[in-house]
């Protein structure tokens, strides 16, 4: 059921073409036309990606072997279940973040908008490329492209602070990328292939345990850094200097999800569950994830800057996914994949809310946001809903995924992980609910809000209802989608089905792999 088709390549090409058009002609076009390119490309790409869903659900795949990229290796794209899940969220959220970005950058009068939209499109192109890559080389090419495309976004403001975070970002990602590169060469030289295969192609026992463990950690270096697993998360909070839609993109859609997806590919499609468990890499990584979940939640509680608090929340939630992958059961892997979806929608909602608040009122510190609900009721309600979703409340998307990960831990008999997962849900509540309480509380009068707003020159309409529509509509939409996915995980695009399908493919017939 494998069809040769250029469709996956076309999806990537659409975004890449948009990036190139915007970069070269953006300054000569009117802003509306320029943003028109982004939106059209986003819509076309989403259409292309979604059109491939039925085939993938039926167990088939589209394969595009483009050309030989290095002696003996094809530049090859393939749409499997896991890749489709990632591609669907990345492409769909591109539309929403584009609309939101337009509202944000115009409301905030950003400079260098052309470069901004071009880099944005390049980021999405790389993310889709990562999702569809069929072998390690193709994957690495898109992975490094993502690093490069994100750098201008992180350093968008071009001041000292932005430069410093840009450098930090490059330092983390390039160093880890080079280790990843060396490991890819090693794997290719040793096994003669670098094609992803569900269940992995590296056999347990094919090399000494310690050596394989080294190989495992070199392989996951790239993923671990982009996924922000502590202690390799340093770049993520400092990348917060970037404009909010960029943070939303970094945190919810492209970069960190690419990191997690990289881990999924390496652990489940290169090493496979058996070898990952055999060399001990998976269990070491799972303890890193546990550490990250706990510590990041505690750090998040202490942040007064809303974006910073959300950043640490991201760090924690991503490790949830990592933990889900490392538990290596069919439930937890499906849960982890679905948590990619759930977290994408929930976290992007939170970031969009933070950005809308910042542009509309000029507030960025949580302690000054008292009584905000009166001024921006819709935004605050969406924020509340998304917060509850992150904590894993039933009927929200976050519940489904966390439940699955828990079930996985249960079947694998890992009581420690169960405890951690429960504690993490409470911790998530404890850092997000206080924000909600401040929004709806009366700790500072509405006068202060308008005063602070007046201090910031960029507030465009201080009397309008809530945020500008271009920002408000996307964030309401993401909230609605998050709720729909919570009630009917298979609604529309069958993301949950695809996640389960991919997990079953990885774990094989038995469904559960028992370590030892």
């Amino acid at each position: 059921m494998i069809t040769e088709s250029l469709r996956p390549a076309l999806a990537i090409a659409t975004a890449l073409l948009a990036a190139i058009l915007i970069l070269f002609f953006g300054n000569r076009l009117k802003p509306n036309v320029r943003e028109g390119i982004t939106l059209v490309a986003a819509a076309v790409m989403t259409g292309l990606v979604f059109s491939m869903i039925p085939k993938v659900l039926g167990g088939g795949a589209f394969v595009a072997e483009l050309w030989t990229i290095a002696d003996g290796i094809q530049l090859k794209l393939k749409t499997d279940g896991a890749g489709m899940v990632f591609a669907c969220i990345a492409s769909f959220l591109w539309i929403l973040t584009s609309v939101y970005s337009i509202g944000y950058v115009r409301g905030h009068h950003e400079k260098n908008q052309t470069g901004y939209f071009a880099a944005f499109a390049a980021c999405i192109a790389s993310a889709i490329g990562i999702a569809f890559s069929a072998n390690l080389i193709t994957f690495f090419i898109f992975y490094e492209m993502l690093t490069l495309a994100t750098y201008p976004l992180v350093a968008h403001y071009r001041d000292e602070k932005a430069k410093a975070s840009g450098r930090k970002y490059l330092a983390y990602t390039l160093v880890s990328g080079q280790l990843f590169f060396a490991a890819i060469v090693w794997v290719y030289a040793k096994y003669g292939t670098c094609e992803f295969a569900a269940g992995g192609f590296i056999e347990a026992g094919s090399m000494p345990k310690a050596l394989m463990c080294v190989m495992f950690f070199m392989m996951i270096a790239g993923g671990v850094v982009k996924a922000g697993v502590m202690p390799f998360h340093g770049w993520l909070p400092s990348a917060m200097v970037a404009p909010t839609p960029v943070s939303a993109l970094l945190h919810a859609v492209a970069v960190v999800k690419a990191g997690v997806f990289c881990l999924l590919r390496i652990i489940c499609y290169v090493f496979g569950p058996e070898s990952s468990a055999w060399c001990g890499g998976a269990s070491v990584l799972s303890w890193f994830a546990v550490f990250t979940i706990l510590v990041s939640s505690m750090v998040a509680m202490r942040q007064d800057n809303l974006k910073a608090r959300l950043a640490f929340s991201t760090v924690g939630q991503l490790s949830y996914i990592v933990l889900g992958i490392c538990i290596l059961s069919v439930y937890s892997i499906a849960g982890a994949m679905f948590h990619m979806v759930a977290h994408a929608f929930l976290k992007i909602t939170l970031f969009m809310c933070a950005g809308a608040i910042f542009v509309t009122t000029g507030l960025s510190q949580i302690s000054t946001m008292g009584d905000l609900a009166k001024r921006m009721p819709v935004t605050c309600v969406c924020f509340t809903a998304a917060s509850l979703g992150i904590a894993g409340l039933p009927l929200m998307a976050g519940f489904i995924s966390k439940f699955n990960i828990l079930q996985g831990a249960l079947t694998m008999g890992k009581p420690m992980f169960i405890a951690v997962l429960m504690a993490a849900a409470l911790l998530a509540l404890s850092y997000l609910i206080p924000v909600v309480r401040i929004f709806f509380g009366k700790e500072s009068s509405s006068q202060t809000v308008s005063c602070t707003a007046a201090e910031h020159g960029h507030v465009h309409s201080s009397s309008g209802f809530d945020a500008a529509p271009a920002m408000l509509i996307p964030l309401v939409l993401t909230t609605v989608v998050a709720i729909i996915l919570g009630c009917f995980p298979d609604a529309g695009t069958h993301l949950y089905d695809m996640a389960v399908m991919a997990a079953e493919e990885i774990m094989g017939e038995g469904g559960i792999y028992l370590a030892g």
């Binding site: 050309w67 290095a70 490059l170 090693w186």
Partner: protein, 504 residues
């Protein structure tokens, strides 16, 4: 048609040689036509080189051309196979673009006809030397072309900036030692075999292998080639020469003048000596050590400078180390990586020196501290800079990444993990100094004031004259296309010859 095709190897060299001789004469009457004669001669070389590459690759057989009809071992032989057909095309393309690139430079010179005559003759002569070195199959003829390269190189460095003559003198001193060492080595080989033809040498070598004379010859040859290719620790002349050479000719000097000796070294050692002989083990060990140290030294040293040209020059020392590393690895992928890196680094480094020349031409600057916001005024130059820099770091999908991939693959297959570690470390160091430049280019405040900008009003509003834009675009296209389609070069063109000829 067939008549011409037969003579392609010599025609490619003959065109620039004629231009060298005719250019001073024509320039006497019209400097513009003198210049054009060189540019068009080099363009003819490019056309012939493409033709030759097509013939060699499609027929799958190498061309053996006997000058004057004299068969070796008496006559001189030009031998062209897939590998050096690629190298010849590379030399021709970069020579042509460089001749085009340097044409706007001389307008401000007072003694125009003399200057134009001298400069263009030397440029064409440099092309003759480099093309000859990559074509010849005769050890002594190689020496002749090596000296042609060196002599024209001395001239082009000396007409450069203020410190040019000193740099040139330094190169003259060391270069002469290098050439003498090479000659000495060839002398020893001649004394023990009685032939100078490389194929003939290869035939007679097995009986003589491991004799002390041969080992001394090999040591001399390594030093000779090492000096010419600026291999650490024999690189002393290179940073000054590359920094102070004429900004128009610098791309050629930095881009290919140190690569062709590297290619000649590859041809010389792998064709003449057998892989498991004692001399080759010596060669592997010596080059491995020099490569590792050179890569690290070049990259570390480049961190210390703010002058664009100096950074590029030291980075070249590191990159030549990559090539030497490929020779030291000495298996199929190692050699593919080395040859591919000769090609890709030639384009990248030439590209970076084109941007350096463009900055010099437009603003007269060499300091990276003045780069702030230049990208707004010189978008094509900045694009070239970014693409070449990313390729130098070795990021996909540019050419530099794939040569690194083959080198790393070769090193792991041979079990030399230290080379992989060095490659990675050097990439990261490269990322530091190149991203520093990129950051300045895009994020620093503007340093060049408007008066300086308007200094030359006739250039206002235009980034660069078309003669300078064409080379930039050629280089960017080459770096991207070589990257994307490297498998055809590596797998279809280089691999068969490397496995059959170099690693028999």
């Amino acid at each position: 048609m067939n008549q011409i095709a037969q003579h392609l190897p010599v025609l490619i060299i003959l065109f620039p040689l004629c231009a060298t001789l005719l250019c001073p004469l024509i320039s006497h009457f019209s400097p513009d036509w003198g210049k054009r004669s060189v540019i068009s001669a080099l363009f003819l070389s490019v056309v012939c080189a493409v033709w030759q590459l097509v013939i060699v690759v499609s027929s799958g057989e190498s061309i053996h051309y006997f000058l004057g009809g004299w068969k070796p071992p008496i006559g001189i032989e030009f031998a062209v196979d897939n590998v050096n057909a690629v190298i010849i095309l590379l030399v021709a393309v970069i020579s042509w673009t460089t001749s085009l690139f340097s044409s706007p430079f001389e307008k401000k010179e007072r003694t125009r006809s003399l200057y134009s005559a001298g400069y263009y003759s030397m440029l064409a002569f440099l092309a003759v030397g480099l093309l000859g070195m990559s074509t010849t199959g005769d050890a002594f003829n190689l020496y002749v072309f090596m000296e042609i390269t060196a002599i024209s190189g001395y001239g082009l460095i000396a007409v450069g900036e203020e410190k040019g003559p000193i740099a040139s003198f330094r190169y003259l001193m060391t270069g002469t030692i290098g050439a003498s060492m090479y000659l000495l080595g060839v002398g020893f080989l001649y004394a023990s075999t009685g032939t100078l033809n490389m194929a003939d040498l290869a035939d007679k070598m097995p009986q003589l292998t491991d004799s002390p004379l041969i080992i001394i010859a090999v040591a001399c040859l390594i030093v000779g080639f090492g000096i010419k290719m600026a291999l650490f620790p024999l690189h002393g002349w290179q940073p000054a020469a590359h920094s102070y050479a004429h900004p128009g000719a610098d791309p050629m000097i930095a881009g290919i003048m140190i690569k062709i000796p590297a290619y000649a070294m590859l041809r010389f050692f792998y064709c003449i000596f057998i892989e498991d002989s004692k001399v080759m083990q010596l060669f592997f060990a010596a080059l491995g050590v020099m490569a590792v140290l050179g890569v690290l030294f070049g990259s570390l040293k480049a961190l210390r400078y703010d002058t664009y040209n100096k950074i590029l020059a030291y980075s070249s020392i590191g990159q030549v180390g990559y090539i030497a590393m490929g020779f030291a690895i000495g298996n199929v992928y190692g050699l593919i990586g080395a040859v591919l890196h000769i090609v890709s680094h030639a384009f990248m480094k030439a590209g970076l020196f084109y941007t350096s020349g463009a900055l010099k031409y437009r603003y007269g600057i060499h300091e990276t501290t003045y780069l702030g916001q230049v990208y707004r005024k010189m978008p094509v130059t900045s694009l070239t800079m970014v693409v070449c820099a990313l390729s130098m770091i070795g990021l996909p999908p540019f050419a530099g990444f794939f040569s690194k991939w083959y080198l790393a693959l070769g090193a792991i297959q041979k079990g030399q993990y230290i080379f992989v570690a060095v490659l990675i470390l050097s990439s990261l160091l490269g990322a530091i100094y190149f991203f520093r430049i990129i950051e300045k280019l895009f994020m620093e405040r503007e340093k060049i004031s408007d008066e300086e900008n308007n200094m030359r009003t006739e250039k206002k509003g235009k980034e660069l004259p078309w003669q300078m834009l064409v080379p930039l675009i050629v280089v960017v296209a080459a770096v991207i296309l070589i990257g994307l389609f490297n498998a055809y070069i590596a797998g279809d063109v280089l691999k068969p010859v490397i496995t059959e000829v170099f690693l028999k």
